[in-house]
């Protein structure tokens, strides 16, 4: 009788162990399969957005060059900047048009409230850009408030 009990207990333990291992194995395979899917997606995203970091840095420099352009009336500088913008365009960079639009936090960052039409973009402080239709840098804007003095 005891022998049969022991055998039954051992069998049960064994069954549990097998179930446990099967689950762990399935989990590992599932993680792997998910990783494959993600890697595929990441690869395709990488191609599209690999330059995002670099372009973001260059936009900072572009900001300063545009400030210079506003102050110095130099044809040469304007031509060079036009070329720079053209290069960015071919890389999929597009300016976010916000002037006069309603404030939208998805595309804009409000840096200051100024007197003006409620919730409208009164001034662009720093241009925003899309990279391949995804927001690379939101536009920094001054937003209107009728009550502001």
């Amino acid at each position: 009788m005891i022998k049969i009990m022991t055998k039954k207990i051992k069998e049960k333990e064994f069954k549990l162990k097998v179930e446990d291992l099967t689950n762990k194995w399935k989990r590992a395979l599932a993680d792997y399969a998910n990783l494959e899917k993600r890697v595929g997606q990441e690869k395709s995203d990488f191609v599209k957005y690999a330059n995002a970091c670099l372009i973001d840095k260059l936009l900072g420099v572009l900001d300063d060059l545009e400030r210079a352009e506003a102050h110095l009336k130099s044809e040469g500088l304007s031509l060079a900047l036009s070329q720079f913008r053209s290069v960015l365009k071919t890389e999929g960079v597009e300016e976010i048009k916000v002037e006069g639009e309603n404030f939208d936090p998805e595309k804009m960052d409000c840096s200051e409230m100024v007197k003006g039409a409620k919730n409208k973009v009164i001034k662009v402080v720093q241009k925003g850009y899309f990279l391949n239709q995804k927001i690379l840098r939101p536009a920094k804007v001054k937003v209107g408030s009728p009550s502001k003095v």
């Binding site: 993680d31 998910n34 998805e106 409000c110 200051e112 919730n119 937003v143």
Partner: protein
């Protein structure tokens, strides 16, 4: 049997930023938000239902409706000192709710801190589901070690409101320790130094029997990286005023730029000794001329500017150790948490105080979330005793033609794993191949360790390069290596079992890797020389065969020239002291002469006997290089034959 395969996520619900992580394949992974960032700003606009980065962007527009630092109000009464201090800081209204608990009032409606935090957790949940592609219903959430029962309950409620069953609430310092796996190191006392954006926390934990106990905590709830930024901003403004006589604080846009530049400079100085702060056209001078801000900030100067702030953190540390009745030198492990701990001076002060190197390899912004994920994994049953897979520490391969080491399994490959490659014979009618199993990083077989050798014989007579010998390496989870060589033609196979191929000590692995690096240059030359020799050998073989096949189709003069070249190359190869260039020159010359003969043969119609294949022999096994000659007619070159 519980067949749940759903994952439990770990969430660091922070004052300024929150972070989510999950265990995947036994390793913690920080989950990026839908915006592609690793951190979620803990900012909520409940009316427009904005959370995170998007909510932050409209904070200035909407200060009364935008809630941040809600963690400061969790589970606290309206009369709490923290609540009073917070009210002075923030633009939204705080008032007394049910039972005098602090609540926020937005457009006449009351929201409890739990409801606001729930919105952050909801976003974390949603982003995790999008990333993992499965529904998430359970989470582990972290809280500061000093949180009382009411605060912990509030955090749990926040989870429930967001649709998450909170499997456990764990302390942030404990989570950090889990992230570093300190329970495996059997560390007894652990100090966690957490300097984030807005708060500083120091905790002393004691680990015993796998259980963490908080011995003491202290800190400063209004001291963080933001204060460090402020010092730099003040310095920039002061310097500019000195140079230009203009106060930039009145210009909101200029201050915005300076704020960003200051933070950027601070971050850069953690890895450089000096940085330049460069903001052209920052403002206009008295006469309307544009003024530029350019200054250099050195690490030494930055340290001077923030020295008192760093010292300010050490007072709570001393108090905490006193509470725990411990000497700083008695602490077994120190952990750095929070972005500001990246600053070298902060690390230095901590190291000096505790007299040991702090743990900082895990991203300090993410370490708490990572620890929460580890705990979540344990609760999910994924990771009962954190199953770790081994790696093979050194490259494994076989010896091939020219005493070269050809890799089959690269170092640091996770095991169990297997890899096969097909090789062939190096000489005509070669009856057997010897498999010499090598371990090491050097390109030459003699410089690597031979783990074992065996022979596969019974290969039927054939031209070199024709037999297909499949060599398979298989390492099981215990690191036992099985190498099999099978003749695909006859089906005959031979194998060898090698134990302990992964059982090298760290020092041995390190030594071998360093040796490889040291000799990398000369090894490369050696290998190139061998390859050049092999190519020359092959070309000679091909040339001889071509001459035979050509018969009278080719011009006698051309054939004689080829024979001359063959003799020359053969003589050259007999020499010991050769350079790659010499061999390549001779090979090129032979190859050119051979072309003429080849061209002549093609002019006659029909090809003759099947093309020659493979490389020349000196050793037992050959490596197919798969390179095609880049000149067209090279006798009858077959794919895999090296002709140049």
């Amino acid at each position: 049997m519980n067949n749940k395969m759903t994952k439990i996520i770990g969430i660091d619900l922070g004052t300024t930023n929150s972070c989510v992580a999950v265990m995947e394949g036994g390793k913690p992974k920080v989950i990026p938000t839908s915006e592609g960032e690793n951190l979620i700003p803990s900012v909520v606009e409940p009316v427009k239902n904005l959370v995170g980065r998007v909510a932050k962007r409209q904070m200035v527009l909407n200060p009364e409706n935008t809630i941040y630092s809600i963690k400061r109000l969790m589970g606290r009464k309206i009369t709490d000192e923290q609540v009073e201090k917070t009210q002075k800081m923030v633009g939204y209204k705080i008032k007394a709710g049910k039972n005098d608990m602090a609540v926020v009032e937005i457009e006449g409606k009351e929201y409890t801190p739990q409801e606001i935090s729930a919105k952050i957790l909801q976003k974390a949940k949603k982003d995790a589901e999008a990333y993992l592609g499965e529904k998430i219903t359970e989470a582990v959430i972290t809280v500061p070690a000093y949180f009382n029962d009411a605060q912990r309950q509030a955090t749990k409620q926040a989870g429930e409101i967001s649709g998450l069953e909170v499997k456990r609430i764990i302390n942030e310092p404990t989570a950090s320790s889990l992230a570093y796996g300190l329970e495996k190191k059997k560390a007894e006392t652990i100090a966690v130094y957490d300097l984030g954006g807005g708060t500083f926390d120091i905790s002393i934990l004691e680990l015993g029997d796998g259980v963490y106990e908080v011995k003491a905590t202290n800190g400063d709830t209004f001291l963080g990286g933001d204060d460090f930024d402020q010092r730099v901003i003040e310095w920039i403004v002061a310097e500019f005023k000195k140079e230009n006589g203009i106060d930039l604080t009145t210009d909101k846009q200029a201050m915005q730029r300076i704020r960003d530049a200051a933070e950027k400079a601070k971050v850069e100085l953690s890895s450089s000794k000096e940085t330049e702060i460069n903001q052209p056209f920052i403002t206009q001078g008295k006469s309307g001329q544009p003024l530029h801000l350019t200054m250099k900030l050195s690490r030494a100067k930055l340290e001077e500017l923030v020295d008192d702030l760093i010292d300010k953190t050490m007072k709570p540390v001393e108090a905490c150790l006193k509470d725990a009745k411990l000497d700083p030198k008695k602490i077994d492990q120190v952990i750095l948490v929070g972005g500001q701990t990246r600053m070298p001076k902060v690390e230095e002060k901590v190291k000096q105080y505790f007299g040991k190197e702090p743990n900082k390899s895990v991203n300090p912004d993410e370490v708490v979330a990572v620890g929460a994920a580890v705990q979540a994994g344990v609760l999910a049953g994924d990771v009962k005793d954190i199953l770790l897979l081994d790696v093979t520490p050194l490259t494994l391969g076989v010896e091939t033609l020219g005493s070269v080491s050809t890799a089959l399994i690269e170092r640091n490959a996770t095991i169990p794993t297997s890899k096969s490659q097909v090789f062939s014979t190096a000489a005509d009618n070669q009856p057997q191949v010897e498999i010499n199993v090598l371990q090491g990083e050097r390109p030459m077989a003699a410089d690597n360790k031979s783990l074992g050798r065996f022979i596969l014989d019974g290969i039927p007579p054939a031209q070199r390069g024709v037999p297909q010998i499949e060599v398979s390496f298989d390492i099981d989870a215990n690191g036992i290596l099985n190498v099999t060589a099978k003749d695909k033609g006859t089906g005959k196979e031979q194998s060898i079992t090698i134990k302990g191929s992964t059982g090298l000590s760290d020092e041995e692995v390190d030594k071998m890797t360093k040796e490889a690096e040291k000799h990398a240059e000369e090894d490369k030359l050696k290998k190139e020389l061998v390859e050049a020799r092999n190519q020359a050998d092959t070309l000679v073989f091909t040339a001889e065969k071509t001459l035979k096949d050509a018969g009278d189709k080719a011009d006698k003069k051309d054939k004689d020239e080829v024979e001359e070249e063959i003799k020359r190359v053969k003589e050259l190869l007999k020499q010991e002291d050769l350079t790659k260039e010499k061999i390549e020159e001779a090979t090129k010359s032979l190859s050119e002469k051979l072309q003429k003969v080849g061209a002549a043969m093609y002019q006659e119609k029909g090809k003759e006997s099947p093309p020659a294949s493979g490389e020349n022999s000196k050793d037992k096994e050959k490596k197919k290089t798969g390179k095609k000659g880049d000149k067209e007619d090279k006798g009858k070159a077959e794919e895999g034959e090296v002709v140049e």
